[in-house]
Amino acid sequence: MGQGKPERTIRFLGESQTYINKNYERNTTMKSLEELAAIRNKMKDRVALRENNGDIRIVVGMATCGIAAGARPVLNAFVEEVSKQHADNATVTQTGCIGMCRLEPIVEVFEGNKERVTYVKVKPAMVPRIVKEHILGGKPITEYTIGAAE
């Protein structure tokens, strides 16, 4: 640890706040790869199970236009909510430009033979509701879709 060296503050503006890094040398308390081996053992059986029922695809547009409009926090919110709400029937994937840049961030939901649902100008705050009511509940949220925006 520091040993007389001054503490330094690294400022990350943007999605994060201010953090303090007390260590100058490579951090020795870093999360170990052994923890990954433990995750491996814990997950082995569940992975096989999951692969059988991923019948809903949530696709987030991650081209320059999407990223600039805020697709990264939307993507991460979907990854988190799908796990948190145990929407094991859904997988989250990324795609390039969908061709309607002014409506980014755009998220498309594909399910079996159903018509795809296109959500536009998506914000992270909308994501828990989309997962709960649409992905798990089967009811698309019309007011967030492209039909409502046009």
Partner: protein
Amino acid sequence: MKELSLNILDIVQNSISAQATLVKILLAETEDTLRITIEDDGKGMTPEFLATVMDPFSTTRKTRKVGMGIPLFKLAAEQTGGELTLTSQTREMSPEGHGTVISAFFHKDHMDFTPLGDVVSTLISLIQGCPDVDILFEHRLPGGSLVHLDTREMREALGDEIPLNSFEVLEWARESLNEQYGF
């Protein structure tokens, strides 16, 4: 882009489209400067394409004729008095060493410097989207310490059956990076 970490996310998508198997994201930071180098082993660009790639009206994409990724990154560097360099070799030019290297240099004390922002979220997004591409991330901080993530090491610890984009694995990567940054 509001953060340089978003430019990084955008530029690495190009590497992935170019069928890279390994992408190195290397950040070297001093008190007043930042260098961001993105190096891939993808299919590379021909000299003709390289000459036009800084131009916003150049792209490989078919949905729209404007590719803004590299021009935006270049602008972000140049507006701080820095620069962006780009070198690339196709498979025909170099069967062993093909790929693209983009290196951008920034003066952090310039008023038009864009903050690096949430580079951890960028890495998590990349691993989530492309679990089969390997990523080596190194961030040398001004004090000399190193933040490091190598998906090849993760893959070795996880074995074949657990994909890198499993939620638990992404969380491990996020926590590992946060811990190294001292968050």
